[in-house]
Amino acid sequence: MQLVGTQFTDATAIVGNDLVTLPDYPAEIRAPAGSLAGVSGFQINFASTEVYTPGDTVQTLVAMNPAALKVNLADLDHGGHLILNIDAFTPTALKHAGYEADPTDDQELQGYHVHKVPMTKLTIEAVKDAGLKPKEAERCKNFFALGLAFWLYDRPLDATLKWLDQKFGARPQIRQANELALRAGFNYGNTTEMFQVHYRVRPARVPPGTYRKIRGNDATSLGLMAAAWQAGQKLFYASYPITPASDILHELVKHKNFGVKVFQAEDEIAAMCAAIGAAYGGAFAATGTSGPGMALKGEAIGLAVMLELPMVIVNVQRGGPSTGLPTKTEQADLFQAVLGRNGECPLPVLAASSPGDCFATAFEAFQIAVRYMTPVVVLTDGYVANGSEPWRVPRIEDLPRIAVNHEFPPETFQPYARDENLARPWALPGTPGLAHRIGGLEKEHITGKVSYDPANHDFMVRLRDAKVAKVADMIPEQTLIGDESGDLLVVSWGGTYGTIRSAVERVRDKGGSVSHCHLRHMHPMPRNLGKILKSFRKILVPELNLGQLCLLLRGRYLVDAIGFNKVQGKPFAVAEVAARIDQILNGGD
């Protein structure tokens, strides 16, 4: 289902619609077919205008079996299209999904445009010339459904046919069968009179440029690579497989001809330590993980802070704690990123707001890391990492260069001397005359020698803190959507951007006095943020956690921020955020 969802997304991107996707799949690789827990879904919202969310509800639902219907029917708008593979509604499957009676015969589906399509039978019939075994033939039914969806929304088949050529070039039977199923689905829509409508969604009006469809994890990968490219350096990426971050590993390893060195480490700690070793050696080093891996990396991140070496640590957040909800999204690792290490251990933290924004965030993380000689954490999340959107591809010549200096005069070299950004020199092993020792023990200011001196420790703790605080000089001032003062400011961060923006706009369109402030820079925060916060009567902080940003804002700025929290492993719906905004504007708490 993820596969045909991706194909529909590609076709939708190519016709120029704006889009946002929400893949939703179980943690198990082969979850029991037909069970409620095993339902794999793919939601897409596309339009001729800009869209920021995958949609609270759907207008068309394709359910390939009773379990899929049961899990997703609540999300379908009344009056929406419900396309069912009626062949899958067998007594056994119904029972498996917990239906006592066949819902397709029931009142339950009144109010929807129900289309009962015998997809399995039609698919098997359509592909019979390909000579597949019955089981294999049946598997093509998702392509039948895709073809039908293509017809319904007037998408071209070319991109999918090209993809089938590439994917199954070596297995012509499978390729042919999927094409036959795809065309059969398309033609079924065209020739039956089951659908009285047929939609044409015009290209979205978006800024001019060259666009592509991009997934968050791919954008993160490209951002890391582009940063190394703009510095004329080589990227080193060490990682241990973990959902939902592994796709960064899979993407980067393809690009060895860019000199990218990818190291699948024996564990999370090793991945972090290898990144430190590579950074020490002069590479643009990065590691990627998710919350549990981040926990394991903690001690080594502390070492990176102490060694003051530049590197990027990507945390693709998922539902926690512990193993939690590996394939679902959450924003509950903010404290972990900002505060989650022993000792006073500050480092810059950035958060990406959308799939395409992962590129800019990863790129900026390296800019900061190198300029300030510090590890930088990039927070994305399962929703942003797996979701796709059209992305205006930057021209490489428009991206800033990243200056790197490894040359220092041996006569005056001191490993813990500071430049104007309080950064220490990135002196590389192998350089004549600069041999020095670094380590996790406290350093003497300037010389970098081991020091247990109380005053020096106090000084160094404050120095490391001041250095990270200085990053606020480099990052842009915080911007707002809406007025610069008013009744309510909604502050959000990370992957909730699209939803919160849509909710705020919805309320503003009705005349509500509400503005939106979306943070990318979680630590340090933009220098004008305090002023912004104090310009509004109330502050609402919607987060997919129990109020982590809210507590940071309250602590730092002494503002009476109110949390709006949800931890269901899925994004906010626009309507629920808009309702909460309305409630507060109407005097509620």
Partner: protein, 344 residues
């Protein structure tokens, strides 16, 4: 790539490899001897101090990088091999030595050691084995013997001991050796062999902690008795030991090693085991690593020295091959991805 077997490039005295940092090991610690021999080896081999990096974890042994005038990283507990791996992959030109101890390397950092061995990274790993936790003041270590009474095992240790060389050979490390802090000539020779090896080189050094585990290796250091308790491994030579060089090792029934006396029961040198450090199978090396005092003499010297593909060479080779196949990289093209569309 700088081969570790290259001819001397600089002419420096051992002291030139030291740093100005005050050495803080306890007086009488075996580490002093290791540090001295290490500097001698660097001098003998004409190592360029600017190309050397010593990476360590945590523990008494792991302070060593501070005392070398080379590049060095004193990292976190157990993770030196992991940090060294990243450095090695990023920098094929450097010579990297990992300094670890029995607790650092085999307890908290066991996993990293295992993978450094199996990957055959081109790094040297020197493990100072004193069979005790020194820096944390005397707790039992994974190489401590059973029933050992320590501050954390007042009624005797109940965990079986792990044998560092057996672990390394079990992981098919391509160079595995053992030496003793108090036999300087042997220590020096062994470190030189390790330095010359391309691939992972593991050296276990019996190291005396005179504060918390004094005399743990007395049988191997005491001049009066050591020849009866230690057998020196030499490639192609029979395993003979003893003060009078009259004892030998042979393989008995069921592949069990036996100590025999030459001249008794018709035993001659031709009955003895001949050491073969170059055998591609690690079986013989493993069998030798299992010989334990007091039942057997403990082997010192090189158990295994074989050639095998090196992880960091292979990654460079893949990059070279793919760059050749695909031509010069084009970042813009990569960013455009498989499909783009224009909006005007």
């Amino acid at each position: 790539m700088a081969a570790t077997t290259s001819a001397p490039t600089v002419s420096l005295q051992p002291k030139d490899y030291g740093s100005s940092q005050e050495i803080r090991w306890c007086p009488g610690c075996g580490n002093y001897s290791i540090l001295t021999q290490l500097k001698k080896v660097c001098s003998n081999l004409g190592k360029d101090p600017d190309k050397l990096v010593f990476v360590s974890g945590i523990g008494c042994s792991s302070r060593l990088p501070y005392y070398m005038g080379t590049y060095g990283v004193h990292s976190i507990h157990g993770r030196a091999p992991a940090l060294a791996t990243g450095l090695r992959l990023a920098r094929p030109d450097l010579e990297i030595w990992v300094i670890t101890g029995d607790g650092d390397g085999l307890s908290i950092g066991g996993n990293h050691l295992l993978h450094a061995f199996r990957r055959n990274l081109n790094i040297k790993i020197i493990m100072f084995n004193n069979r005790i936790y020194g820096l944390t003041k005397g707790q039992v270590s994974p190489t401590s013997e059973m029933n050992k009474k320590t501050i954390s095992t007042p009624y005797g240790s109940i965990g079986a001991m792990i044998n560092p060389c057996s672990v390394a050979i079990g992981c098919e490390a391509t160079f595995v050796a053992r030496t003793v802090d108090m036999i300087p000539a042997h220590l020096q020779k062994t470190l030189e062999r390790a330095a010359a090896h391309r691939g992972v080189a593991f050296v276990e050094v019996y190291q005396n902690c005179n504060i918390f585990n004094d005399g743990a290796f007395k049988y191997s250091t005491d001049r009066e008795i050591r020849e009866d308790h230690v057998v020196e491994l030499e490639h192609g030579k029979a395993l003979i030991f003893g003060k009078d060089q009259t004892k030998g090792l042979r393989i008995g029934r069921n592949y069990c090693p036996e100590v025999v006396t030459l001249g008794e029961n018709g035993m001659s040198i031709y009955d003895l085991l001949i050491h073969d450090e170059r055998a591609s199978s690690p079986a013989l090396a493993f069998l030798l690593s299992r010989l334990r005092h007091p039942d057997y003499p403990e082997p010192i010297g090189v158990f295994r020295a074989v050639k095998s593909p090196i992880y960091n060479d292979l990654i460079e080779e893949q990059i070279r091959r793919l760059t050749q196949e695909r031509g010069a990289p084009d970042m813009q093209k990569l960013m455009y991805g498989p499909e783009t569309w224009e909006v005007n």
